[in-house]
Symmetry: C2
Subunit: 248 residues, 2 copies
């Protein structure tokens, strides 16, 4: 059944006029008819069965809460140093959405070769948010993660509060640091926030790692293999899901 | 330092004439000179420090075993239903190599839309093997995973023996099956083999799943979100690494 995300609360009378783009997709593209059923995820992160009760304007009436929950029990915020190519942020956003990220922040790391100037930022983020929204639908998420541009690392650390903060650091892998990720994930309680920072292709600078350590961000190895900048966030999300959803 | 994989045993006299493609890359492309050092991974899956002792023919002498091991403690064989696009097998091979897969088998699932005819197979596999080899170097693996075309699912089940066999089944996620993956991974002992089967975009057919269950392949959910065909193997590998390398 078709599922749409609508960033609205549950209406008091259970009726909702569909936003224009969704109405267009449902009525003009899919040719839905009166009384057809659909699923809508509202901003309470619940998924409802709904019925199309009129076509013009396209209006739905909620039938029941489907009670499905595909969200991770914790919020994972990824902070990714801007990669070099256009494809890598897209891959990160699509796959991280499938794997349950709640928020994806790109930042200009010291060794980021690519820079998003202020004019470009809005367009880039808009495109990435669309990819996230499509992936959220496809993976049956209850919510769409937010994709944002976070500026510098210091801004990210200031603006993204979290209960636990880790940084995936290449040197951790080389030095065989193996304990911190599991230690952190085993402490995480439902509803808490984890911020995970990843460097761009060239890695994080020693200054950036020092800056993070001073602020209590814990360096955590993701196993002994060197993962690319777009692979490491996916490893992290799978580990969070495995530890909190499957292995408990 | 430059690292090469050479599919040869350790020579008795510690000296090795480099294969032509490696000699060309080292001497003609990188312009290495006599006495330059390099790293070579031999077929004993160890990485050696070596010295270039002559240029024509390009010959190295092993200096010492570097003692580095970036391999998973178990062998993970991925069996992936052929995806529709050319890009997805490439993505699977590159990322699965980074994450430690020991062998990647593509097979013609009932719902695979793409088919590799016998003429195409060799070329496709050759290209994918090159991607695996490059990813193995980049991720500092001790070995290159083998990429093969496995024919039909029944052939794969016959030709790929393993201590544990699981299938990532979309219905497992929908039915909330959460225990089997962790149960399997916690039983895996170092040196054992895990075969993990993944469907193509359209999923596995009920007949395929039944066929596997009859042969003792365990359906295992990978969390409550629906993962794309190219994402599920990466989740699995990260979970294996997390459970066996970090959380133990």
């Amino acid at each position: 059944m078709q599922r749409y995300f609508i960033n609205e609360p549950v209406p008091e009378d259970q009726r909702l006029v569909l936003p224009k783009d969704i109405a267009h997709h449902l009525v003009d593209v899919l040719r839905a008819e009166q009384n057809d059923e659909l699923e809508v995820a509202l901003n309470d992160q619940k998924v409802y069965l709904a019925r199309l009760i009129s076509l013009n304007p396209a209006t739905i009436e909620l039938q029941s809460d489907l009670g499905t929950d595909a969200e991770l029990p914790v919020e994972v915020i990824l902070a990714c140093g801007l990669p070099k190519t256009k494809e890598k942020p897209e891959l990160i956003v699509q796959k991280a959405t499938e794997m349950g990220a709640s928020r994806i922040v790109f930042f200009a790391a010291q060794r980021s070769i690519s820079r998003w100037n202020p004019q470009k930022q809005a367009k880039k983020i808009e495109r990435l948010q669309k990819i996230a929204n499509a992936a959220a639908e496809q993976s049956h998420r209850n919510r769409q993660p937010e994709v944002v541009y976070g500026g510098k690392l210091s801004d990210v650390l200031k603006n993204e509060p979290a209960d636990f903060k880790i940084v995936a650091w290449e040197e951790s892998a080389k030095q065989g640091e193996e304990a911190n990720l599991a230690k952190t994930l085993k402490q995480l309680q439902p509803g808490q926030k984890l911020l995970a920072v990843f460097g761009p292709e060239g890695g994080l600078s020693a200054a950036e790692v020092d800056q993070m350590k001073e602020q209590g961000v814990v360096p955590a190895g993701l196993g002994p293999r060197i993962l690319r900048t777009e692979t490491a966030p996916l490893y992290l999300l799978a580990a969070v899901s495995y530890q909190l959803e499957l292995a408990r």
